[in-house]
Amino acid sequence: MSQKNRLASGGRIDRSKPLRFKYNGREYQGYQGDTLASALLANGVDVIGRSFKYSRPRGIVAAGAEEPNAVLQLGATEATQVPNVRATQQELFGGLVSSATNGWPNADMDLMSYVGKVGGRMMPPGFYYKTFMYPQSMWETYEKFIRKAAGLGRSPLENDPDTYDKINHHCDVMIVGAGPAGLAAALVAARSGARVILADEQNEFGGSLLHSREKINGRPAANWVAETVAELEKHPEVLLLPRSTVNGYHDHNFLTIHQRCTDHVADQAPKGQVRQRMHRVRANWVVLATGAHERPLVYGNNDVPGCMVASAVSTYINRYGVVPGNELVLMTTNDYAYQTALDWADAGRKVVAIVDTRQNPKGARIEEARKRGLNVITGSAVIEVQGSKRVSGVSVAPIDARGDKVTGSVQRLSCDTVASSGGWSPVIHLSCHTGSRPEWRDDIIGFVPGKTVQRQLTAGGINGTYSLRKVLEEGARTGAQAAESAGFADAAKGIALPLSEEVQEGPAMALFHIPHTKPTARAPKQFVDFQNDVTASGIELATREGFESIEHVKRYTAMGFGTDQGKLGNINGMAIAAKSLNQTIPQTGTTIFRPNYTPITFGAIAGRDCGELFDVKRYSAMHRWHVEHGALFEDVGNWKRPWYFPKAGESMQDALDRECKATRESVGILDASTLGKIDIQGKDAREFLARVYTNAWAKLGVGKCRYGLMCGEDGMVFDDGVTSCLAENHFLMTTTTGGAARVLEWLELYHQTEWPEMEVYFNTVTDQWATMTISGPNSRKLLAELTDIDLDGDSFKFMDWRQGKVAGVPARVFRISFTGELSYEINVQANYGLYVWEKLFEHGAKFNLTPYGTETMHVLRAEKGFIIAGQDTDGSVTPIDLGMSWCVSNNKPFSYIGKRGMAREDCNRPNRKQLVGLKAKDPKKVIPEGSQAVDDPKQPLPMKMLGHVTSSYYSANLGHSIAMGMIRDGHNRMGETVYYPQADGSVIEAEICSPIFLDPKGERQNV
């Protein structure tokens, strides 16, 4: 269990707590405080995956969110599999199981690499586009190859056993990033009394200070971090969120934070704890203190394991006590990276050379390196690396002052690690999320956040401010500004600035792409985007092929499209494109970033909204009875409505036949509670109804009900229902189940915006009433046993309603019918619903009272030709098209909604599609709903279609199938035959008829 690269002391790991973990089936050991990446490096694991396109071996290059290669699969069991985990961000725990995600048969011995070597030239940029374009038959060949090779992990096949949470917050100041700038800002804002949230993606606060050897107030920076965090913890209004990545910055200062609560503890969250939590924050002011990522340089074979970003090497040494090699060559364009060589030397390992691309660099760190006898080679660059699974040496050559070409002879140096630094890129991702365009700054050689409309401030590295002293100063000042802007007036008073020494630095060189002795296209591959295998020559090729916009170059080459969003490579790629286009970087511009900053699990997005809690469920007051009586349910809106009530051994059709016959022969009962009910009151209520319905309402008396059609201004039907006059200025409107909310909003819209002078009030009362409809010839006899209402057919007529008691409960009884039978719709206060329902069954046994659901309701209404708005209508159908001109008034004084629309020329042209009945020639054949009618089924494709079937059932009462559907000019084609070709090649022949199949005179409901 050797950790050959682990130092004997130093770092923020706990050597007294060894942890065992598995990678690719082998067991290793690390320590508490390690990341998976630092533990792998400690154990000398070089290859952690194969590259996406060329299958080249890849190793860890960075130490944080920007890592492109070490994207691993986690999970000890099938259910706990997590793809897309960056080893650099995964804390180590005992028993962790991980594996490489691409590489076949495994990452270390990958057969695909031979394909990559041989086939590399087969897959230039634009490969996918070119392949899609050219012989299509080739795609299947390529696809297998690509799918197998392109994985970055896999989803679990079993359900996730863990629980995830969501939580909402409001705060005065949201600070993103707890490095020196964020901590300084938080401290000042917290002291002002502001409600502060401080979030950081790492397990500990401190950011760069966790691996820095600089001092604050004369003591190690870590001491200041500890004191600051300790003080912040004491402020009651401060919420500290470590292990929490601010993944999205959305409109109006809305931020989403992905907190990993127990990912560092075990494979599965401990009992009673959540795995991850999504915080949804609405902040008054936001301070972005997200720091900067170091850019690697682009040079030949720069992807060989052992090539790393300079600051990452320092992080592994100082924070984790891991030196990821023995012999280092450092290549840099700036002073800061010299620290890596100094750290390496301090760790007791050999610094082979510091290769500085600048001709004559001067600065404090350079002086120190020279003083310590390190080999500093100036005006030169590492043009190429040797080695395959690990760096074995480098070629170093002098370059010109602009970094355009190699100017002298090449020398070879032997080493196993190459650290490179091309300067720093501010982490501007979050500011880009809100639409802000980044701005280039020559002095810091990087993009900084541009203008924003958000209440947003920035501090520290994100501004290109890198000296610790200035970062702390800027953080404190920005924290004060944010708090003051949020209304905490004296925030700036008495700031005690932490002090740190200023290190004297010389200017950096703007260099991204290291020249080679050969032209780029012939030089060894120089990788820009490791995750998508985008090379410098690929970008140059894209510009040669005519892609000038950086957005197009990005899409053509796939640069920045990986799960790392090109955090390391994008700026280098843009610089290479700019140079190739003979432009400056600001002229070329930059692509921007979208949420999420780092990949996020579906669990965190879903939170508790899954399984039983996935969607709202609405139940009627009688739901329990339905369940107990074996109902199957159908979702209508959010309602669970009984679909049908099968008895033991019955098929669905058996059950429907029985329910339909029982209703027509004796009495059936339907739970109609879900129909929308809107209470309408006010002296103008009646006039209002006349304006929103197509028919007349002026003369509807108290105690009467009327069916109405509602149209849009375009004259198309959108809802229907019965409205009853409860009192002179008081009506009860019913709507379709699914349309209830939409209709209420529609009424409010017209009242509030068009006719505010009308005195009318609307209120939804859907939930307040339980509604049960008894229907059938024996419904009167049944109801008579339970009510004090006079049910005499001459006094309580069809389309009347009465107030009274049913089963001793106050009730409104409406004599309306959706089945064409004698029907009573009984409405009682919802909490009496089940009681009255059960009373009806007590008395109904002798009448064979039969419960039926939505499907039987559909059959019964279709037998009568009654439409269902939304099924027989689709927003392109007028009342006239439906054959319901009886429901349209032309005599109303006000031009009601839909009237003008219906008068449009197009609504009055001949040959419109119209609703008709359809009778299949084969009486047993039910024409599938949605089938398209044609006149001649033998005509060539594409056939001329006449309209579709909207409703279709088998009617047990009639002994044959019935259907309704749209037919072009259908009202004039009664008795004619149309054909419905089916997907299986068969054709169903049908006769056009009236949609009223049963009791056309309406005698059954008028008894």
Binding site: H252, F254, E748, L749
Partner: protein, 96 residues
């Protein structure tokens, strides 16, 4: 996700409570029957799609159910003002 001030409730609430209802200030013609098909078609279907300031109607659907108007920048999504039905916007695009 927007953070919208409801002028009737007097509070900022999350966008989830609201429904967007499209362009504001489209009055229903006083006498629809005397409109030509073209005029009626324009009332029904033709809407502005400006880059920049847009006056639009929202309803506090899961709140007070009141409609109101919003002046919003369609580029930055900034809400410049919120005003009640019947009121005129105070923030308007140049030339309007």
């Amino acid at each position: 996700m927007f953070y919208i001030y409801c002028p009737h409730c007097g509070e900022h609430r999350e966008e989830e409570e609201f429904h967007a209802k499209g362009q504001a200030h489209i009055a229903r013609p006083a006498d629809p029957d005397s409109c030509s098909d073209k005029e009626w078609g324009e009332y029904l279907y033709f809407r502005k799609n400006p880059r920049g300031l847009h006056h639009e109607m929202w309803v506090h659907a899961a709140g007070c159910r009141k409609f109101f108007n919003v002046t919003r920048d369609t580029v930055s999504y900034e809400i410049k003002e919120v005003y009640k039905i019947g009121e005129r916007p105070s923030v308007v695009a140049a030339g309007n």
